[in-house]
């Protein structure tokens, strides 16, 4: 594990990505402690102090380092909470998608035959469509809101996990230890979870990281388009969208700061994923 | 076919002197070819024999200038008719490749481009070197295909590689090598994986072509019996070094190096019980890192003096071996080899 980390950090961009991600995650976790204001608490928001430029002093005496948004929220606080929302949605959705994908793939690869054929056709069908389209259609049918967005992201992602794990498991199941486990009359679920899964982990790890990034991006896009999270719990995408209309009035900070945080978040996750992919590649 | 002539570098078409090729690996530098010297004359077939990992293929690629990073030729000279190929630059090398020295690869299945016709791949090879028209190139290609024994060559030129059998594909590779009438052909185990009848046909045709055209051939193989039937002279390689070199008669009948003797002993032979073929114990493994004689760990004649690198001395005129016991145990070695 330590050797893996050391090899991982050998690439400066990967190390940078990891450091950035850890800092962002800490900022998200400790957002309530770090923020000057609770942006969800309508009582503490004053619409009169909306769209103040960065550096303005607030009525409560602290400084709006990133200015305020169109609702009069302290933008730094809103960004910290937005980061929290974006990360939570991405992690929850990816986790559920992972579980669904893993179960589907293990079923398919263990039972083979018809189960395999049907499940994998379903995966193919799903993968034929870009996930943004799947998510949009699902949101269209289900309606908007936190739970709906999570469902939409989950359903547009599970197929990636199923596909990856299944192809890894297909290689593994031909190996002798699976046969040995069968001869010893282990129950099928035990064989699947104790043997197939641990040996298919390396390629799956890369997809998990990549899909976390794509979940963040998907949620941001849905929220930006106004079909994602509600306005009362602004994620980064929604903050960018809210500020967008004021860009023509040269009030950039409204969109640019949440935009930069989103950029940093996505880049750091992808840099990590890229390095992990590279390390799985025997020629890397 | 077998002739005993001295082979001074002067009358050799190709003369390789102290060629050294190294690869940078994560565990340090690997010297895959270590100060290899060999010569081949017009109309002569030189067999290079060795097991996999002996550096025989890398020697072939080095002569062609086809060593890519992380590998590089780090020493020696490759003299083609008196000109050092290491000094003529990439464009100079390109003009030599396929024109004056051609190479046939080990794997007939993957050396032809899968999505171009045989004809296109042959015409390309001709046009890369000679200012002839496309029509002329096609005619020449057709003639060469016929010469290597491909039936209805006109039709075959319109085929794609996957439409031909392995044997046919290897004939095409050989035809491409012959196309520009090179002075030297390097054939890297071209008959591996083909069935024995086709192998024999190809060997027969190569011998015939050499006799007709006077092309010098370096035939790289792990199979001593092929070399015995085909070549005029043989060089035996082990772990990047040539350990013995001489005429076929010298090497086969009077092996001077214990490794050669071991190789000969493991060749199936009509006078021997096939079930009791002796194998040389051990493997090349990481013999490349041994400073002295690299065969010492597997050798039955090993002496304390083997810890120093043995000189590559003549044991008889034109017959050299890199072994300190070479001259003295000739009788035992011959017995070991031929039972």
């Amino acid at each position: 594990m330590l050797a893996y980390l050391k090899r991982f950090l050998a690439l400066p961009t990967a190390a940078l990505g990891l450091v950035a991600l850890v800092l962002l995650a800490l900022a998200a976790i400790f957002a309530p402690q770090l923020a000057n204001q609770n942006p969800y608490d309508l009582a503490s928001i004053d619409i009169l102090s909306s769209r103040l430029p960065p550096g303005t002093a607030s009525v409560d005496g602290y400084i709006h380092w990133l200015g305020t948004d169109d609702q009069g929220r302290d933008l730094l606080s809103a960004v910290l909470y937005g980061l929290r929302v974006s990360l939570t949605v991405a992690l929850v959705a990816t986790s559920i998608a992972l579980v669904i994908g893993v179960v589907a793939a293990l079923f398919a690869s263990y039972f083979g035959g018809k189960v395999d054929a049907i499940l994998m056709r379903l995966v193919d069908l799903q993968l034929a469509f870009p996930s943004i389209l799947t998510a949009l259609v699902l949101v269209a049918l289900l309606g908007t809101g936190l739970d709906k967005v999570i469902i939409a992201i989950t359903l547009s992602q599970w197929a990636y996990f199923a596909r990856t794990l299944r192809s890894a498991a297909m290689v593994e199941r031909t190996k002798e230890y699976i046969d040995a486990a069968r001869t010893l009359k282990f129950s099928s679920s035990r064989i699947m979870f104790r043997h197939l899964l641990p040996n298919s982990v390396a390629p799956l790890a890369v997809v998990i990281v990549v899909e976390i990034a794509s979940a963040i991006s998907l949620e941001a896009t849905l929220s930006f388009l106004g079909v994602g999270l509600p306005i009362t719990e602004p994620s980064l995408g929604l903050l960018i969208s809210n500020g967008y209309s004021y860009m023509l009035a040269q009030q950039y900070w409204l969109s640019v700061y949440p935009g930069l945080v989103l950029l940093l978040l996505l880049l750091s996750v992808n840099l990590i994923g890229e390095r992990m992919r590279q390390m799985n590649n025997p020629w890397g | 076919m077998q002739q005993k002539t001295s082979h001074s570098p002067e009358d050799a078409v190709l003369s390789v002197e102290d060629l050294t090729t190294e690869f940078a690996t994560s565990h340090g530098t690997l010297r895959a070819v270590d100060a290899v010297s060999l010569q081949v004359r017009r109309g002569e077939i030189l067999g290079i024999v060795g097991e996999s990992g002996s550096g025989k293929s890398v020697t072939g690629y080095s002569i062609m200038g086809l060593i890519d990073r992380p590998g590089a030729i780090t020493g020696g000279r490759i003299m083609l008719n008196g000109v050092d190929l290491r000094q003529i630059g990439e464009e100079g090398l390109r003009q030599v490749r396929g024109h004056r020295i051609a190479m046939v690869f080990q794997d007939p299945m993957s050396s032809l481009h899968p999505m171009l016709t045989i004809g296109a791949q042959m015409v390309d090879a001709a046009l890369a070197h000679r200012p002839i028209g496309r029509r002329q190139a096609r005619m020449e290609a057709r003639d060469v295909l016929a010469r290597v024994g491909i039936p209805s060559p006109e039709e075959r030129m319109r085929s794609y590689p996957h439409e031909l059998s392995g044997g046919m594909r290897q004939r095409v590779s050989i035809a491409i090598a012959l196309l520009n009438r090179p002075e030297v052909i390097i054939a890297d185990e071209p008959t591996t994986g083909l069935d024995v009848t086709i192998q024999a046909q190809i060997l027969y045709e190569v011998q015939k072509l050499v006799a007709e055209t006077g092309t010098a051939v370096i035939w790289i193989t792990h199979d001593l019996s092929i070399v015995a039937g085909l070549a005029d002279r043989a060089a035996v390689m082990y772990a990047g070094r040539i350990v013995e070199q001489g005429t076929i008669a010298d090497v086969i009948e009077r092996p001077a190096h214990p490794y050669t003797a071991g190789l000969l002993a493991s060749v199936p032979h009509r006078n021997r019980d096939m079930r009791k073929l002796p194998q040389i114990p051990g493997s090349i493994g990481n013999a490349h890192s041994i400073p002295g004689c690299r065969f010492a760990p597997r050798c039955g004649f090993v002496k304390p003096a083997c810890e120093a690198r043995p000189a590559f001395d003549e044991v008889a005129p034109g017959h050299r071996a890199a072994c300190i016991v070479a001259g003295r145990f000739a009788q035992q070695l011959a017995e070991a080899a031929h039972g």
């Binding site: 930006f224 950029l263 996750v269 992808n270 | 050396s111 481009h113 590779s173």
Partner: protein, 324 residues
Amino acid sequence: MASYVLKRILQGLFLIWLMSIVAFVAIYALGNPITALINPNSPADVIERVTRELGLDLPLHEQYFRFVGNLLRGDLGQSYVTSQPALGLILERFPATLELTLVAMTIAAAVGLPLGLYAGYRPQSLVGRGASAISMVVLSLPSFWTALALIIVFSIQARVLPTGGRGEIGFIFGVPTSLATLDGLRHVLLPALNLSAFPMALFIRLTASGVQETLHATFIRFARAKGLTVRRILFVYVLRNIVVPVITVIGIVFGVLLAFAVVTETIFAWPGSGRLIIDSIRSSDRPVIIAYLMFTVTIFIVINLTVDVICALLDPRISLQGGK
């Protein structure tokens, strides 16, 4: 050839049939369409009359047959919002989307393919490293982000290009298009550039890795042993080998772009079918959403079929008699 194409068409029809079930369930099983059509507070007899008129009192399977029957006649229902035929709305908007997508694909291919080729040939060079880094960044970013960046730089700061709209439309060979007028070109440039970012990055990546992989192939080494020039090896032997995967990717990406256009069209106020679908989602206009879905599926299938046939024609190893 014919049997191969026929087989693929049948597979496509099967997929469309699957989607029709999804669509039916979405409209009729999830929520009562009546509530969307008329005011739920209307008198009971009005609701009952409309229900009977629309056949919503029939058993579900009969409703499905009617639905499929309408589908076959190209009737995908009417918009809840405008009462216009849903398919008509989409077809009316589709040319604008197609134009945007085609321009974006052209930009992406013209820049991405040569850059990828070079990056694959010289991965350690400045251009090679730069191209890989940029493609990695672009692939990380959602397209609304790049759209805003483009607007800030070109429209708000430099003031050289408009922030949205389609601009003046002219005619080329009788086809209405923005490409015919200078104003139209100015309007199409930013959205097309934004839409091209993703496929461009993808092309760079795929071509680069394809070239690198091919350069290690034995047949390339053999081609070098023949004494071919680097130029000829790169432009004939390497390119010929990656042309099939590149065309496959172009096909897939073309479909993806038609969907991706949703975001770009919304931001740049481009009057295409993507913007229509977002408006429909916001107003819960289900028939239009479903029509869009069916339409997109059909286009995906047509694109995939075309790509497969082209690839089969280009790759001598694929026999059209029975697949690979």
